[in-house]
Amino acid sequence: MTHDTIGKKISDYKSLIFEKFNGSIEKIYNKNYNELCILTSNPEASTKVIYFIYDNLKCRLVTMICTDERYIENRLDRKGEYNNFKNEIDLMDKSHNGFSLRHVFSNEVEDIFFIVTSVLSNVDKPTYPSIVSHIPSAVYYEREISDMFGVIAQGNPDTRKLVLHEQWPVNLFPLRKDFDIKRRIKRRLNDHYEYLKVEGEGICEIPVGPVHAGIIEPGHFRFSVYGENIVNLETRLYYTHKGIEKLAETMTLSEALLLSERISGDESVANSMAYCQAIERMASIPIRKKATQIRTICAELERIWNHLGTIAGMCTDVGFAYGSSRMNILKEKIMRINEKSSGSRLLFGINRIGGVKVDIKPVILHLILDEITHIRQDFDNLVKSLQNTSSFMDRLKGTGIISNKDVLGLGANGVIARCAGVDVDTRKNHPYSYYRYLDLENIQGIIDKISYEVELNKRKGDALSRFEVRVIEIKHSIDIIQKTVTDILDKNAKNDNIDSDVNNDDILFFDSLKSHLKPYDSALGYAESHRGQTMHWVMVGKDTNRIFRYKIRTASFCNWPLIELAVQNNIVPDFPLINKSFDLSYSGNDL
């Protein structure tokens, strides 16, 4: 989809929404070529718009962003945000001081994001109507915002704390601008977290974690079991909250890039790519094609090694040592490719704003091509033997089923959504980087579009379908890498000497970047990590080299609630398998 057609679509939607909610919309404008921003007059009006977008335009809630805009001195500084709008400055009135709340929706058919903004002008006791009753997936966002900003969603049935634990002082909201990052907090247990109680004869509780056997991150699981059957599971996360979003506000754009790579160690490419794209979209700077190609290759390599690791983990968790050791060998091979091409086994330090830091040389590209073909063969054989190991398949089938309805309701994405037959893939729905040039549906060598949809509809949402989705995605990623690498090599062959110094050309200094950015401008950046869509939102400050607000929403955040549903009516010994088949990140969640 080209920019022009999207522009046209957006203007269609713009007039549609504007006509329908004429009174309640203050401004409606588009920016960053696919974001349609709707500024409403008050939160209640915003709710109506939200419901309209959710119900009638069939959009998904992808994130909710709260920003503390109480202390922005000169509203006129924000004009950058509205530079596309016709009657610009005169609308900047005082009522825009306060907390502003953005609901971001994405249209999965057309490449459009709707950002519904409402400003909560009551600074002392900021509240807004909750949308949970209508859009269940908002529940975690609302709880998070209430913890971090003290902005309360009225009507949210779950008023417990989500992010902040019991030791944190009451009425201290870390993401508010008046919270000093250097402030030392006296931790004291002053609250008691109330777990859901399941009562009845023969029901026991099993607490597991937060410290687990084996080297995994902390998370507390509370099972209510009847015999071996799990009646209910409640997860409690955020044991390693790192304060990334607050930390980012003290950083320059280039520093925050390093931070974004470290949000979740195994999604480094996806996260940093999303961050870079946010800045790039904001500044509307063009990126060299080769840079996008290298980003794509790295992103897909990351996807492959992580999926391989997950499959290996699933094998380990069912005690199938053969599968796990072979899968780990393949994973190691990919990681060695990573090291050869980028210098980092975990693919750190690939992206930079406006381009990439590393240039993959043709020799290495050939090597990647060779290796990846071998890996593909080995992988195919291995998958076949896994599929023929019925004790393995038997464990997967019917384990941890999630329904299509749950996925849609709770807004899960990535593998978790696709395993239940919901076709959400940021690479396809909102193509970015080099994916725009790849015909993703036909590159899926094994499946054409129609049979892909048939396959999709047959998926049951159990561990087996998650396994199958991962297998298909690994093959798909290998295809993408092969295609991209050959594209680069073809181009190199055509004009050998002209492009030899890509690297020097590519450098984009922050001075030049600065000229592209306007104060208080913001943009969405998104990428599809192996877990699913990772959604970043960056707002630069008055000094355009500094970050005003950096909101990160990784796929894990959306997918954690699903695991509670998935384990119900399964038996306790199957939980590790279900958990592994979800492959969720604690670190990517506990930002």
Binding site: S324, T389, F575
Partner: protein
């Protein structure tokens, strides 16, 4: 040819040597099986003597005992260990002679194993941790099926050779023809499944897992530390060796020495070790090739053992 009961000093010495061999070799067998598993998984794996090091290390360590536990928790490792040791006295491994020969009844052997399992389960319940309880309930589910299957399998053997005394059975098997009859084949098959289940091998239990939620045997042992853990590990190894040697000597008795001549005994010992290692390789291979079964399908496998044992009995009376 039953061996005369009037045992001379040398006889007792030989019996004692057998006993010592069992105690000493048991951890080695565990080590070898771990090594084989590692090799099949393309790992280097730890040394085959690692189990000894582990036990020695554990012996030196202090115990951490929960305040909630009663005397059962403290004593059960000793009870488990000593009951396993007593079984070790009953079962001849390469010479058909055991010091406590006459007392060595198969039913007593099963009973002693049952005793040790009982105390392990008590200890698991005693610590009142959630995992201990889970492990115990699973163990109870499995063992309630294993024991009838074990009885059925050994019943066929006992009837075939006309005795329940381990030593007498072995003295018969040592002379029986190489080709075992169909009924014994069935009970061999059933017994093999039971050995896998009793020693916590992979379709039943995964001893190498770190996931508390999936454990069976390990979950009960979770709270033990130091010497107690060492004792339990050692008795587990010994139990494994004893069960496997029962299997070998009942069903594949070739090369079992019946007299006390030195040459025959050496041959017997070597053949025994060879058979033991090959059985270990077989089990390790199965462990690599199969994933752990879903908990509620495990009874299916034990039912297979039961059915096999029943068929053995049918064949016995044809």
């Amino acid at each position: 040819m039953p061996i005369e009961t009037s045992a001379s000093v040398s006889d007792i010495l030989i019996g004692f040597i057998q006993f010592m061999i069992i105690i000493i070799l048991a951890p080695l067998l565990t080590g070898i099986m771990r090594k084989i598993k590692a090799i099949t998984q393309k790992r280097i794996g730890s040394s085959i003597f690692q189990t000894y090091f582990d036990i020695l290390k554990l012996m030196k360590k202090n115990e951490v005992i929960s305040q909630e536990v009663s005397w059962i928790f403290r004593f059960s490792p000793w009870i488990i260990f000593s009951s396993t040791l007593v079984v070790a006295f009953f079962i001849p491994i390469f010479v058909v002679y055991s010091p406590f020969g006459l007392g060595g009844d198969i039913i007593l052997v099963i009973g002693l194993f049952g005793l040790s399992r009982f105390f392990l389960m008590l200890a698991g319940l005693d610590v009142s941790s959630a995992f201990g309880g889970i492990g115990v309930s699973r163990e109870m589910m499995i063992s309630s099926l294993i024991e009838p299957a074990l009885f059925l399998a050994l019943f066929t053997v006992a009837v075939t050779y006309g005795s329940t005394n381990v030593e007498i059975i072995m003295s018969h098997t040592a002379e029986s023809s190489i080709l075992i009859s169909a009924s014994l084949l069935f009970s061999l098959f059933g017994f093999f499944i039971i050995v896998m289940a009793e020693t916590g091998k992979i379709p039943f239990d995964n001893p190498a897992t770190h996931l508390e939620l999936t454990m069976v045997h390990e979950a009960m042992v979770l709270e033990f530390s130091g010497k107690s853990l060492a004792l339990i590990e050692l008795s587990q190894s010994i139990k494994q060796l004893l069960l496997m040697s029962l299997l070998i000597n009942f069903f594949i008795p070739w090369g079992l020495s019946t007299s006390f001549s030195i040459s025959e005994m050496i041959v017997g010992l070597l053949v025994f070790l060879l058979k033991m290692v090959s059985l270990g390789i077989l089990i390790a291979y199965i462990e690599t090739k199969v994933a752990k079964w879903r908990l509620f399908r495990i009874p299916d496998l034990i039912f297979l053992s039961l059915a096999s044992g029943l068929m053995g009995i049918i064949f016995l009376f044809i």
